[in-house]
Structure formats: structure tokens, C-alpha cells
């Protein structure tokens, strides 16, 4: 068996100022296997990947590659040695074509001139191998949807003749049917003897594609080389969290059906995105929207929030119509939103946590235009305690938080006004604005690890129980079904079904949202690129 081991890490340690990101990692990857890496956000996965990819150099410990100790000076060195990495936030150059991206840095050339025809030909060949010959090699990548970009990233890895490919949450940006294709590609790669290090938060994927699992916790390996299919979930979760929490949804507390709707949307339309959508959310009710990427669900949320202007239809909150296309109007009416892309749409990563928490409310804390950092920090600390934010130090930059905790900051942003409202009577006079009554959550658990997810689910339930209306979108059908009192199913810009959450099962929903959508259906929708580049620190 040992002959098969191509990568072996022993006691790898990597520290950053103030953080011990890796604290003795063991990892053993064999040729031709899919080796899954599990761990909560902040467990050190990202750092480990960067060590393997030559971005970081370990402080101590050994990395053996093909039987020899190595230390990669830079990413190019790692790539030349045969280790390719596909990052979660794809590192493609938007202005360059698919082929140019695939061969970036090692373009076929003659006499110093790039052989464009040869580059395109070899790219087509690789795309064919990946089952995506339909992607035009000369198209600029910014015109591809996320899934297409991922294929290009993979093509880049293959263009290097890599013997080990690291995939950091490759399924996070993929629609359901695309994941199947991804797995097909992975199987082909492993059949050819290429090893894959696969990182995902989705247990079912690990079961399906993985051979062995290594679990990280707090920068340390807590289990190495467990069989991916047979190890009980409870076991894995325990090793990740030290707790034995399952993917548990809290019990529903049904909202009183008699109350007047808090949010009342009628005939909302944005040409080319969604048409004639009507929905209501009552106080204390959680309404979930299930649909594929490109079904118009995120666009719908943003339009309700005022971030996009509707072509037709009305949005009423608490009986009063919102000004179309005005976020300010929605916020003043007590609507809050946690957008899909936390880093690029919601957070000031270098600013302290408390300033992110109060981003929508700091003016209410201010006196005569002067901000009161102390009051903000204090109110934020209360919110942090309420949401079990870790670490609870609200003066740290948000960048240092894990994905789940960053999400808590974004949700907490809409609670801080109400929290402070309860704080002291003298503050109440100044809080002229309405506290948040309706929370819009777009993919609230994307990139959030299992343990933190349960916390978020509980939080969302608690908020609803406290009287908030919640409107949420998630790519994970079980999440929508498990959380929502009522579920709307969207396909191609229309709501095709509405039902109480308990009455639907996952397969029925998947059938509905995917019916009629072709394999390339999800690819047809062009999605915005994310603007962030930093991986999560530590």
C-alpha cells in the first residue's frame, strides 16, 4: 500500500501572527484516490491547501511528494511538480479567453510567440475530456457562468499534467445536475491514476465520491484515512466539532395564520429574470424559496429588498408600499437582507466586527452626527453573545472570522437595532427607525460548516419565534424544507408551486425545480463574478 502513497505530510505546523493555523497536520494521499478533507471553517483546511499549493511554506514538519521531502518555493514550483489547485474563489483572469486561462503561465510557444491555435486546440481537447466540449475555447471567461468557470479551472489543472488535484469546495457554485458531471470527471481522473483532494461541507457528496477522509479540527488532524463510505456521520461530526450534533432542524412553531401579512408582494416582474411573482410572509413565518441557480430566486430577493428595480408589481411591508429600487426605503420599513455573497456584498473585511454589525444602524447610535463607537461595540457585543459569535471580541477585523461566524455578523446586522432597543429606555427615543421585521436570507449557510449550520438554523427559528418574518433562498433543498413553514418553488422565473414545508419531500421538490431544465440549463444563466480574493484567514 505504501507504494501508492504520493503525498505524505507529517506534523506540519504553520503559524501566522497571533494564530496557529496548522498545529501538527498528518495527511496521506494515495495515487488514484479521492481523499476528502473535512473540517469546520477555521479548522485549517484553507491553510493546508495553500501549503500544498506552494503559497505558504510550513514552519516545521515534513512534506513528502513522490517519496522525496519537498518545500515548494512558490505556486509555480508546486504546479511543475504536479500539484494543481482549484480554489473556491476561482482565480481566473476575466479578460482572457478560456484557452488563455487554461494555459496561463505555460502557454505553448515558439520563439517567444504564443501559439494561439495550438493553445486553443489543446484546450478543446481537455474540455472534451471534461465533457464540456461545448465551451468555446476563445470566449472570455467573464462571459461564462460560475459552473463554466469551474470547468475552466479544472482544465487549467489538467493542462499541467497534474498528478494531484486539490479541489476546494468545487460543488459550492454548482447546480445539482452539474455536480453529477463533476463527479463523472473526478472518476475519470482517478481511473487514470490522478489523486484528488476533495473538500466539501456536503456529507452526501463525500459519501458518493470519496474514498478516504481526513478530519481536521483546530489545525490538527483528528482522524486520518477513515473510509469515506462506511464511517458513520455521527463519528465524523464528532471528530470535527467535538460535539455530537447532527444536521438537525429545530421544531416548527407555526405562525398564526390569521395575522395580516408582513410582506405582501403582488405581480412582481423583472423582464428576463422573473415574472408576475406574488407572495406573502406573515410575522413569525419562515417562507423558503427552492429553485436552481438561474431560476430568478436571488434576483427576486434583491428586488424585494430594493437592490434592483422592478419592472412591474408592488411590494408592501406592514401595509405600506416600498419605494421601488430603494434599499433605504426597505431598510427604513424594517427589512434586512443577508446577501448571497458575504464577502463581496455584505462585509467590510478589514473593519472590526462591531462596525460590520452596525453598518446599517450606526447612524441610529450616533448623537448629532457623531458616532458612538462604545455604544455600538456594546450593542454588537450583545448581539455577538446572542448569536454565539466566536471569537466574541467585536473589535477584531471580520476577515479573521470563519465563514459561519461571518454569516452571523451579517444576520446580526439586522438584529442590533432591536437589541439596542431593548437595552436602555433612553436609547429608545433616538431609535426612530423601525426595528427589523422581515429578514431576507439568500443562501444563509453557503460555505458554513455543519456545526455552525445547526446554530444558524436555531437562530433563524428563534428569530421567527420572536415575531420576525423570514424569507429565505437556499440551493440545499433539505434546508428549505426543514426550515420553512411555507415553501415556494421557482423555475425559470415563475413560482410554480406553493405548499407548507412539511408536505413536500426532497425528491418531489428536486423533480419540480429540475423538470424541463436541460443539462446546460444552469449553464445558460450568467452569474456575476465574486469580487473577493482572500480566502478565509487561518
Amino acid at each position: 500500500m505504501d507504494d501508492n502513497v504520493i503525498l505524505k505530510l507529517t506534523d506540519v505546523v504553520k503559524t501566522f501572527p497571533g494564530v496557529r493555523a496548522l498545529d501538527g497536520v498528518q495527511l496521506e494521499v494515495r495515487a488514484g484516490e479521492v481523499h476528502c478533507l473535512l473540517g469546520q471553517n477555521g479548522a485549517g483546511k484553507s491553510t493546508l491547501i495553500k501549503v500544498l499549493a506552494g503559497v505558504h511554506r510550513p514552519d516545521s514538519g515534513n512534506v513528502e511528494w513522490l517519496g522525496k521531502p519537498v518545500e515548494f518555493a512558490n505556486p509555480q514550483a508546486a504546479m511543475r511538480a504536479g500539484i494543481a489547485t482549484i480554489y473556491q474563489e476561482l482565480d481566473l483572469v476575466d479578460g482572457l479567453s478560456v484557452a488563455e486561462n487554461a494555459f496561463l503561465g505555460h502557454e505553448p510557444r515558439r520563439l517567444g510567440f504564443i501559439r494561439r491555435g495550438e493553445t486553443a486546440r489543446r484546450t478543446r481537447e481537455i474540455l472534451g475530456r471534461l465533457g464540456h466540449a461545448e465551451i468555446p475555447a476563445r470566449r472570455p471567461v467573464h462571459r461564462l457562468p460560475s459552473a463554466g468557470k469551474q470547468i475552466v479551472s479544472m482544465a487549467r489543472a489538467l493542462s499541467h499534467d497534474a498528478r494531484l488535484i486539490i479541489m476546494d469546495e468545487p460543488s459550492a457554485v454548482l447546480a445539482h445536475d452539474e455536480v453529477g458531471n463533476l463527479f463523472r470527471i473526478i472518476r475519470e481522473l482517478t481511473a487514470a491514476g490522478i489523486a484528488v483532494v476533495y473538500i466539501s461541507h456536503r456529507m452526501e457528496e463525500i459519501r458518493e465520491i470519496g474514498d478516504r477522509v481526513t478530519v481536521l479540527k483546530d489545525g490538527r488532524t483528528t482522524a486520518a484515512g477513515l473510509p469515506a463510505r462506511d464511517t458513520p456521520t455521527r463519528d465524523l461530526v464528532t471528530r470535527m466539532t467535538g460535539r455530537t450534533i447532527e444536521y438537525v432542524f429545530p421544531d416548527r412553531v407555526h405562525a398564526d395564520a390569521g395575522t395580516a401579512p408582513l410582506l405582501d408582494v403582488t405581480g412582481l416582474t423583472r423582464h428576463g429574470e422573473f415574472a408576475d411573482v406574488s407572495l406573502t410572509v406573515r410575522p413569525g413565518e419562515i417562507v423558503g424559496i427552492a429553485g436552481l441557480v438561474g431560476s430568478g430566486r436571488s434576483e427576486l430577493l434583491e428586488t424585494i429588498y430594493g437592490a434592483r428595480r422592478a419592472d412591474a408589481g408592488t411590494i408592501r411591508v406592514g401595509g405600506r408600499a416600498l419605494r421601488p429600487g430603494s434599499v433605504g426605503s426597505a431598510v427604513r420599513a424594517g427589512v434586512g437582507m443577508a446577501p448571497e455573497e458575504r464577502k463581496s456584498q455584505a462585509l467590510l473585511l478589514d473593519e472590526p466586527i462591531y462596525r460590520n454589525v452596525t453598518l446599517a444602524r450606526f447612524a441610529r447610535f450616533a448623537r448629532g452626527g457623531f458616532t458612538r463607537a462604545g455604544a455600538e461595540a456594546s450593542a454588537s457585543a450583545d448581539v455577538a453573545a446572542r448569536l454565539d459569535l466566536r471569537p466574541p471580541d467585536v473589535r477584531r477585523p471580520v476577515r479573521q472570522l470563519s465563514g459561519g461566524n461571518q454569516q452571523k455578523v451579517v444576520v446580526g446586522r439586522w438584529l442590533v437595532g432591536t437589541a439596542a432597543r431593548n437595552d436602555s429606555p433612553e436609547d429608545q427615543d433616538r431609535f426612530g427607525g423601525t426595528p427589523t421585521r422581515l429578514l431576507i436570507l439568500d443562501e444563509p449557510t453557503r460555505g458554513v460548516d455543519v456545526g455552525a449550520r445547526s446554530d444558524l438554523y436555531q437562530l433563524i427559528r428563534d428569530l421567527a419565534a420572536a415575531g420576525l418574518g423570514v424569507l429565505l433562498v437556499s440551493s440545499e433543498v433539505p434546508e428549505v424544507l426543514g426550515l420553512s413553514d411555507r415553501v415556494l418553488i421557482m423555475r425559470e422565473g415563475s413560482v410554480i408551486r406553493e405548499a407548507p414545508g412539511g408536505e413536500l419531500d426532497e425528491e418531489a421538490v428536486l423533480d419540480m425545480i429540475m423538470a424541463g431544465s436541460l443539462t446546460t440549463g444552469a449553464l445558460a444563466a450568467e452569474t456575476d463574478t465574486t469580487g473577493t480574493t482572500e480566502g478565509e484567514a487561518a
Binding site: A346, G369, R372
Partner: protein, 354 residues
């Protein structure tokens, strides 16, 4: 943003929460970071003064002369310093303003036409400030509502404002007849020249505005992540508009100061002030991409430039070499800032280990 050496006056009950101890640590560590940057610039200033003292001991031997020279350096930094405060706001807010020099010229020229001068010094100051704000708001409108790239919008303003200034002045130098205006350059308050007092007031106001007001907070949010700011309900366009207006206001104030110093105004004045202001803001630690910056650092940046000019003058060295050194200082200051003290200590600890 050098913010934080003193405790926030409003920062009362926080300490009671669980994060109290670490809160204070954060304050200190954050202020250390910025203090470190500013210390670097302060070090550059000290080095420059030492070079001056070594090369011209005859001059530096006279305390009266030294005091005068300090005032000279500060006075020469005053107008550009005021403009740099506005520029720092614009850059932190994610923009850039290439038109500051041109707006100063326009405001100065408009304030010194015979017609304006007939309204007396009050009318002149009012005119300069209104013209400055007006031109700044036009920039802001073009950027926020016209959706022009700031570089292009303010480049257009730079060309247009100088053109308008030239046409108003008939391409002539306009002498300021107002003794009140001209005396701004000579008046002293408690022994400190008025120009320096104005600079100090503008810097202090800028610091408070950036670090202690909702306006400043919005500026940082809009520059740091405009999408996040928008989705948090901040009116990004209005904020952008106001930022350029603020820069224009600073230009108006600077124009009066410069007019007072030169006893006149002309369309060609304040030449390349935009580049000096941007350079000063950047070496002061302001991120060109927005979202982060310090007023005090920018002030230090201006002082470094002003001191270099003075140093070269008292040594009778040529302007060419002065400009070369200036370029070198910009690069060196930014390099020093990027060099983290943490990595230094780590380097030592690593080499210390066998």
C-alpha cells in the same frame, strides 16, 4: 484613522461586556499599527531635519531661524495640506480627484476678479468656497449619477476648470487688492501664523469627521465595499457626491490661502497639486483602492514633501535632484509601510533559532 490612541469619549459601558479586556488590546494594537506607520514618516522627517542641521550648521545654530524655518515649512504645507485632507476623504471613499489643482485655480481666479473683489474680503472668501464646492459637486454628480469613472470625470474637470479660469482671468494674473486677504499670510495668532492655524483646524476637523461621525463611517463603508454599503441601506451615490463636494470645499479654502500667500491668483496656479495631494495621502497610508486611510498620515506626507523642498532650498540644490528624491521618498515610504514589524520580529526569532 490614527484614531485611537485616546479612549473614545463615548466608549463607556463596553468594558463591562466580556470582550472588555481584549477590546482594549485591540485599541492598542490597532493604534500601534497606525502609529507605526506615522512613526515611520516621523522618522523620515527627523532624518530630513538632521540632514539639514548637518549640512547647514550655520543656519541651524540660530534658534530664531529654526523657529522661523519650522513656520516656513508648515506655511508652505498649509494650502496643499488642506487640499490633501479633502483628497484623503475622496480616496478613502473609493474615488480619486485629479481636479483639485484646477479647482483651486478656478476658485482663486473667480475670487480675485475685480467684480468679486468689489464685494470685499467676505465676498471673495464666499466666492472661493462656493466655487470650490460647486466644482466638487459637479465632479460628484458626474461620478455618482453620471456613472463616469472618477479618473475620467475629474480629469475632465481638471481641463475644464483651468480653461474656465483662463477665460475668466483673461489669461492675466489677478492681483488681490484686499489687505484682509493678503494679511491671512502674515497674521499670527498667539505667535503662530494664521495659515498654520487654518491647516491645524482643517486637519482636526477632518480627523473628527472621518473617525467620529456617521459621515466618516459612511465614507469608509462606501470605499471599502460599495455593494455592502448599498445593501446596508447607505446611499452610496449621495455619499460619493458629498465626498467630492468636500474635496471642492477644501480646494476653496486652499485657494484663499494660496491667493493670500501669492497676493494674487492666476489660471496656472496650484499646478500639479493633485499629484502632490495624492502622493501625500498614499505615503500617509491611505489605500488607493479605498476603505482605509488616515488624515494624520496624509498630513505627515505633506510635511515630508514640504520639508524636502525646504531642505533642498537651504542647501542650494537643483530642482531636478529634488524631484528625483521626492519620487524615491514616495516609493520608500510605501515600502516601509508594507514592511511589517511583525515579520521583522519573526525574522529575528527564526535566525536566532539554530
Amino acid at each position: 484613522m490614527k484614531a485611537t490612541t485616546t479612549a473614545d469619549p463615548g466608549a463607556h459601558p463596553v468594558a463591562k461586556t466580556d470582550g472588555g479586556a481584549s477590546l482594549r488590546r485591540w485599541w492598542t494594537s490597532e493604534s500601534n499599527e497606525f502609529a507605526g506607520r506615522n512613526l515611520g514618516l516621523l522618522g523620515v522627517l527627523v532624518v530630513l531635519v538632521i540632514i539639514g542641521a548637518v549640512t547647514r550648521p550655520d543656519l541651524y545654530g540660530d534658534p530664531e531661524w529654526v523657529r522661523n524655518n519650522v513656520f516656513t515649512i508648515l506655511q508652505q504645507a498649509s494650502a496643499i495640506g488642506v487640499v490633501t485632507v479633502g483628497m484623503t476623504f475622496v480616496i478613502i471613499g473609493g474615488g480619486i480627484d485629479l481636479s483639485v489643482g484646477a479647482i483651486m485655480a478656478l476658485a482663486g481666479v473667480w475670487a480675485t476678479t475685480l467684480a468679486t473683489q468689489s464685494y470685499g474680503p467676505g465676498g471673495m472668501i464666499f466666492t472661493a468656497i462656493v466655487v470650490g464646492i460647486g466644482a466638487g459637486l459637479v465632479n460628484g454628480l458626474l461620478v455618482s449619477y453620471g456613472r463616469l469613472v472618477p479618473f475620467i470625470a475629474t480629469l475632465a474637470m481638471m481641463v475644464a476648470a483651468r480653461g474656465l479660469a483662463a477665460s475668466i482671468s483673461g489669461k492675466q494674473t489677478q492681483i488681490s487688492q484686499s489687505a484682509v486677504i493678503n494679511d491671512i499670510a502674515t497674521t499670527k495668532i498667539l505667535g503662530v501664523p494664521l495659515l498654520i492655524v487654518i491647516l491645524a483646524l482643517v486637519v482636526a476637523a477632518g480627523w473628527v469627521l472621518l473617525n467620529r461621525t456617521t459621515f466618516g463611517r459612511r465614507t469608509i463603508a462606501v470605499g471599502g465595499n460599495p455593494e455592502a454599503a448599498r445593501l446596508a441601506g447607505i446611499n452610496v451615490r449621495v455619499q460619493t457626491l458629498l465626498l467630492y463636494g468636500l474635496s471642492g470645499l477644501c480646494c476653496g479654502i486652499g485657494a484663499i490661502m494660496l491667493t493670500a500667500q501669492a497676493n494674487s491668483a492666476q489660471a496656472a496656479m496650484a499646478n500639479l497639486y493633485e499629484l502632490d495631494a495624492i502622493a501625500a495621502a498614499i505615503i500617509g497610508g491611505t489605500l488607493l483602492s479605498g476603505g482605509r486611510g488616515t488624515i494624520i498620515g496624509a498630513l505627515f506626507g505633506v510635511l515630508v514633501f514640504s520639508t524636502i523642498t525646504n531642505l533642498f532650498a537651504i542647501n542650494g540644490l537643483s530642482t531636478e535632484s529634488q524631484n528625483m528624491i521626492k519620487g524615491g521618498i514616495i516609493v520608500a515610504a510605501v515600502l516601509i509601510q508594507q514592511f511589517r514589524f511583525g515579520s521583522l520580529t519573526k525574522l529575528f526569532s527564526r535566525t536566532a533559532k539554530p
